[in-house]
């Protein structure tokens, strides 16, 4: 084990995979100088500018070239800086990467990783703050990963690079500095679709992912002080999502709250809530609930930005209501 930041855990994962497999390479704007957040610091020096490559500000070409390079036998990791910018390459991801294998009758594999950081990050405003994971969960062919801890950012990024499917890999910008214990094992892989139980508890199941997991965990501590034991589940990936673990938890607790940073309307919480209602609706002690952002863009000024955050206190209030 080593104590690493979320950012350095991802950097370590990529460095290990670059060293392990000569077909792995990374490309994106500013990678030669470490990338916009420093996630690639030192890698161009170690692996050379061909394998950790700068790119023009051409999102469609970055992702489209990755599709061509993946179909031609390499394993590109592409950096989009912000999930907001990746929208300039939606055709390349949704129409090309996600569908090539199927529409060509299995002749193609598209083993690429699209790193597109998500989430609110103080005063980054409407075009640098979105959490768009549910968009991609809707698209057959894609895997969607949202790691919340340093250990997961190592094990999941490595699993993404080794995966033969295109993976939308969404790190949360507010977590870069978060430190935690990270396994040294160069083959440490976190499989997709296997949730992490953050906290055991018998009164209510709270499902979350990405940075919101930490808000929920803090709320669970407060609730414990009030005698309410919440089970907290970090989904880790939302496609595939660990339906079995969520259903097992709710079957035991009889209560489900889904919490995410993304807009609640048509967010992935709706899928989870609907699934639980379909499967366990008659056995629930209280109707399922979702907490997400209101359907408004993220504002710049702190009070405006905070107005669309799901806070610890909002989670505590929702659970308290559900326990009545």
């Amino acid at each position: 084990m080593a104590r690493l930041s979320y950012l350095d855990a991802g950097r370590t994962a990529l460095a290990e995979e670059l060293a392990r497999d000569p077909l792995v390479w990374a490309i994106g704007e500013d990678l030669g100088r470490g990338g916009v957040f420093g996630q690639y610091r030192g890698l161009a020096e170690t692996f050379g500018p061909d394998r950790v490559s700068d790119a023009p500000i051409s999102e469609a070409a970055i992702l489209g070239a990755a599709v061509g390079a993946a179909m031609t036998g390499t394993r590109p990791v592409v950096e989009m800086r912000f999930s907001d910018f990746a929208l300039c390459a939606v055709d390349e991801l949704v129409n090309q990467a996600a569908k090539a294998r199927f529409m060509f009758g299995g002749q193609a594999r598209v083993p690429l990783v699209v790193r597109e950081p998500i989430g609110m990050w103080r005063s980054s405003a409407a075009q640098h703050s979105q959490s768009l994971e549910s968009w991609y969960a809707h698209i057959p062919g894609l895997v969607v990963a949202c790691p919340s801890t340093p250990a997961d950012n190592k094990g999941m990024l490595k699993a993404a690079i080794r995966c033969d499917d295109p993976v939308v890999y969404m790190e949360h910008k507010n977590l870069w500095a978060l430190e935690g214990e990270v396994p040294d094992d160069p083959d440490y892989l976190v499989p997709f679709g296997q949730a992490r139980v953050v906290r055991e508890g018998g009164d209510i199941t709270i499902v979350s992912w990405s940075a919101q997991v930490h808000v929920v965990a803090a709320a669970a501590e407060v609730l414990a002080g009030q005698g309410i034991e919440a089970e907290v589940i970090d989904l880790r990936s939302i496609w595939p999502w660990d339906k079995e673990r969520v259903l097992a938890g709710v079957a035991r607790t009889g209560r489900l709250l889904v919490v995410h940073e993304a807009v609640a309307v048509a967010g992935f919480g709706a899928e989870i809530a609907a699934t639980v209602a379909e499967r366990l609706g008659r056995d629930l002690k209280t109707p399922v609930r979702r907490l997400g952002a209101p359907r408004a863009p993220v504002g710049y000024a702190p009070p405006v930005e905070d107005a669309v955050r799901v806070s610890r206190d909002a989670v505590v209030a929702a659970v308290t209501e559900m326990m009545r």
């Binding site: 070409a61 489209g64 990755a66 390079a69 031609t72 036998g73 199927f102 529409m103 060509f104 895997v143």
Partner: protein, 314 residues
């Protein structure tokens, strides 16, 4: 080969009338000289990215006509098992990495395939075909710039038939045209009469030679004409009276025939090639009609390894 492409599409259009070709097809009748002239300089190792109007590219790259016909009819035995149809034909065995339903999308994919070739230190090249309409899409700029910046082995081929679907391209395109745009990005470009198969062949030889010797990307602007509508179902009434008639004398197959006869080849020999092509495609069509559709379970095959619908019980 031009006869084979022509015959394949004529038979495919019959399939539309017979209601066995169920989806849209985009014929390239009148444009056959471009893929034939270019592809004669590519080997099976070289890669090809094609378009929605890609039957000619695919056949010329070496795909089986019978498998293509099965694919057009959505049948077992098609290149993609009947799951792609005309707009998504691919044959990776012969380096054909796919037609594409999105105009211009293949340009950046081609750049990436060439990028992988360069990373792996291989000496093959990529050919990427698109129409004149594609030069107004962002991926045209992004893909050509990418190929130029990284000095990648790609031949970009703009098949300029004058129409962007049903709109005259000239009415919607500013500036001096495809070759000028390529040159402005730093990609050397050659303009050619795309209905003269020998001229295309000569231009392609020169450009591909430069690419193979490490010169980076090249651009071929081939002026041609689409004798049919945008799709097999488009009567193309938007074209001025007489335009198609005037183009008949410019038909690449007719012009090639004239050249052969002038060179002393017997007319019967040329006619035999045409008849053989038609017979081949008729047989492919009969084979396709007799083949079954893929089973419904194919809907869940080759979606993804992780979280696939086969595992997911909906």
């Amino acid at each position: 080969m031009m006869h084979r492409i022509r015959a394949l599409e004529q038979v495919a259009l019959r399939g539309l009338d017979d209601k066995v070709v169920l989806g849209a097809i985009h014929p390239s009748i009148g444009q056959e000289a471009v893929p034939v002239g270019v592809m004669s300089h590519l080997s099976a190792d070289d890669l090809l990215l094609s378009t929605h109007r890609g039957h000619g590219h695919t056949l010329a790259k070496g795909a089986s006509a019978q498998a293509m016909m099965h694919e057009l009819l959505g049948r077992v035995g098609g290149n993609c098992g009947g799951k792609g149809g005309s707009m998504h034909i691919a044959d990776f065995e012969v380096g054909m990495l796919g037609a594409n339903g999105v105009v211009g999308a293949n340009i950046v994919i081609a750049a990436g395939a060439a990028h992988a070739i360069r990373l792996c230190g291989e000496d093959r090249i990529v050919a990427c075909f698109f129409g004149d309409g594609a030069i107004n899409r962002g991926p045209f700029l992004e893909g050509l710039n990418w190929a130029a910046v990284f000095r990648l082995p790609v031949l970009f081929v703009c098949e300029d038939n004058g129409y962007s679907a049903t709109t005259r391209t000239s009415t919607m395109t500013a500036g001096a045209g495809p070759a000028a745009r390529a040159r402005a990005i730093g990609v050397p470009a050659v303009e050619v009469d795309g209905n003269d198969v020998l001229a295309v062949d000569a231009a392609a030889a020169e450009l591909i030679g430069a690419i193979r010797s490490g010169g980076g990307p090249r651009f071929l602007h081939a002026r041609t004409y689409r004798m049919t509508g945008h799709t097999g179902a488009d009567p193309a009434t938007y074209r001025p009276a007489g335009e198609v008639e005037a183009q008949r004398a410019n038909d690449p197959i007719g012009r090639a025939r004239d050249m052969l006869l002038a060179a002393g080849v017997a007319a019967a020999e040329v006619d035999a090639v045409a008849a053989a092509a038609l017979a081949e495609m008729d047989a492919a069509y009969d084979s396709a009609r007799a083949a079954p559709y893929p089973p419904a379970a194919q809907a869940f095959v080759d979606v993804q390894d992780i979280g696939s619908p086969a595992v997911e019980a909906y």
